[in-house]
């Protein structure tokens, strides 16, 4: 199911068509193969240039599998993904340079995504050195952009709070000047009082740098604040997609309605 009608192919930046991903469980019998798990079933998705697209689902919905495929960290069993017109499935890593330069990821837990033995300077510069790009003054520039002091460069990740670490992860992701930022539950591990700071920062950077954002979350209300469009996933399928405001106001699929009803809110407390 296409995520939203009326998408013009010319401004499509990421086009995924009929993606399937089947995992095999380890075999439990000598004579029979392990059970197959359909992590994704015929998922199609288009993200346009400059769009902020949210992917919402619970554990086991396939959102992480889809994300891994979009970032070419895993290969689909069948289907195709085009990034800026180029097919990315089936390519060896050495032919994915255009993707690595243009698409960067911010993970959920900055404690496990930042190497504890590297200084912030090297962490932020690593995507550049890995791609053979000049570092120059880029680290200072990036730290400033994410609201960290210049002297942060000489320190280690453990010397920062959760919110500051997520700022470091964002600076690192922005280093090679990507077109697309993929954020996988970037605020789920943060305290409420810090969450707003990171969401505001992401919104500012996406605006200023004209980024395309793919934002994965289990929380539809966070997606509603950040994104224009959304895909709701369940059991490996996109069950509903479209403009966030439409989905929020009038969820068409019973699962989306259930999801919306289940989220505890502070509404009623003015």
């Amino acid at each position: 199911m296409p995520s939203h009608a009326g998408t013009q192919p010319t401004d499509a930046l990421i086009t995924a068509e009929r993606l399937n991903r089947v995992y095999h469980r380890p075999r439990t019998s000598l004579t029979r193969p392990g059970a197959a798990v359909h992590a994704l079933r015929d998922v199609s998705l288009t993200v346009r240039r400059g769009e902020r697209h949210g992917i919402v689902g619970e554990s086991g919905s396939g959102k992480s599998t889809l994300l891994r495929l979009l970032c070419a960290l895993d290969q689909p069993t069948s289907g195709s993904i085009r990034f800026d017109g180029q097919e990315i499935t089936g390519r060896p890593e050495r032919r994915l340079r255009f993707l690595r330069e243009n698409l960067q990821i911010v993970f959920q837990d900055p404690m496990s995504s930042l190497d504890p033995r590297m200084r912030v300077r090297d962490l932020v510069a690593e995507p550049l050195t890995a791609l053979g790009l000049p570092v120059g003054d880029r680290v200072a520039e990036l730290l400033d952009a994410v609201g960290l002091p210049a002297e942060a460069a000489g320190r280690y990740p453990h010397q920062f709070s959760g919110g500051q670490r997520q700022r470091i992860a964002i600076a690192r992701a922005l280093a090679p000047r990507p077109k697309v930022l993929v954020a996988d539950e970037p605020v789920s591990a943060l305290d409420v009082s810090v969450r707003g700071q990171i969401l505001n920062l992401l919104a500012d950077l996406v605006d200023e740098l004209g980024l395309t954002l793919v934002f994965v979350s289990h929380d539809l209300s966070v997606v509603r604040h950040v994104c224009e469009t959304v895909s709701v996933m369940r059991q490996g399928e996109i069950v509903e997609g479209g403009l966030v405001d439409d989905v929020w106001a009038e969820p068409a699929h019973p699962y989306t309605r259930e999801l919306l009803a289940a989220v505890p809110t502070l509404e009623g407390f003015a």
């Binding site: 709070s161 810090v194 289940a262 505890p264």
Partner: protein, 304 residues
């Protein structure tokens, strides 16, 4: 029924929880909210006599006529899992992976003096009470064969086994999906004899509890009936936390509390929130007392 007075939890020379007082009546559901490092879990662990090595509690906490703080482990052991019990955040680490579910539910009853036969019969009832489908089958299963939500229901069955007077839940639904969380919250609210519910999620606490204690920097900074505290917060921290919890429409700035939660022992003297508070004045260098009847707050410059 539970009364806590001047509870202080200390590691070396650092106060991690400072002078916390509250009470819970039978049948009452009280929420304890705060961000990481606020001292909410330590408060609960000190009531359970489960503080980590090197961390000590002082002050007074009584469940009915029985003291919980400053008594030897041998005395607490008889109460824990019997008169008061606790459900933890991570059901995978709280359950023994090598024991069948049924045996883990009966164990807590035989440990507190019930006959094996009686415990076994009751464990089937308990699994049914927490609305596990096919309780007989679940009793024979191992923890890894259950989903996260099912495991947490088993934890609740174990906690309820000896009909405790007080149930403590520490972030019981944080690791669960929202649709599963909703069922679990409804179940907890229904079965808890009296509840101390710990969470960082204000919306969750609003759906379960009647009264709330807001902790920050190891202190209770505000307390009162949930409706009052959440509609008319007085402490500037509570006010900021509520504002930050509501997600405004796209394209608008989210209200934030500046800075981050300091590490343990790094909170400022006086009002613990003053280094992040937009209303702080030199007066805030003196610690404000928690004052007020019903709805209490510890702030020199409260919101209207």
């Amino acid at each position: 029924m539970l009364s806590v007075e001047g509870l202080t939890v200390r590691a070396d020379a650092t106060d991690l929880v400072h002078d916390v007082s509250f009470a819970i009546a039978p049948g009452e559901r009280v929420g304890l909210i705060g961000e990481s490092g606020s001292g909410k879990s330590l408060t609960a662990l000190s009531l359970m006599g489960l503080l980590p090595e090197g961390v000590t509690a002082a002050g007074r906490a009584r469940l009915g006529e029985r003291d919980l703080v400053g008594v030897p482990e041998s005395r607490i052991k008889g109460l824990r899992g019997d008169e008061l019990s606790m459900v933890f955040q991570e059901p995978m680490t709280a359950l023994n992976p090598l024991m069948r579910i049924g045996a883990q539910v009966t164990e807590v009853m035989t440990l507190h003096g019930r006959s094996r036969q009686e415990a076994r019969a009751r464990s089937a009832e308990l699994l049914e009470r927490v609305r596990l489908p096919e309780p007989a089958q679940i009793a024979r299963a191992y923890p890894h064969q259950l989903s996260g939500g099912q495991r947490q229901r088993v934890m609740l069955a174990i906690a309820l086994a000896n009909e405790p007077r007080l149930l403590i839940c520490d972030e019981p639904t944080t690791a669960l999906d929202v649709t599963v969380q909703k069922q679990m919250l409804e179940l907890i609210a229904e079965v808890a004899p009296a509840l101390l519910f710990i969470t960082h999620d204000l919306a969750v606490v609003a759906s379960v509890c009647e009264r709330v204690l807001v902790m920050y920097g190891g202190r209770v900074v505000e307390s009162g009936p949930i409706r009052e505290v959440f509609t008319r917060p007085r402490h500037r921290y509570t006010q900021g936390l509520l504002a930050a919890s509501k997600l405004t429409p796209r394209g608008t700035r989210l209200p934030v509390i500046e800075g981050g939660v300091p590490a343990a022992g790094r909170f400022p003297g006086g009002c613990v929130f003053r280094n992040r508070c937009p209303h702080a004045t030199p007066e805030c260098e003196t610690p404000p007392a928690l004052t007020g009847d019903g709805h209490a707050f510890a702030c020199w410059h409260p919101a209207d």
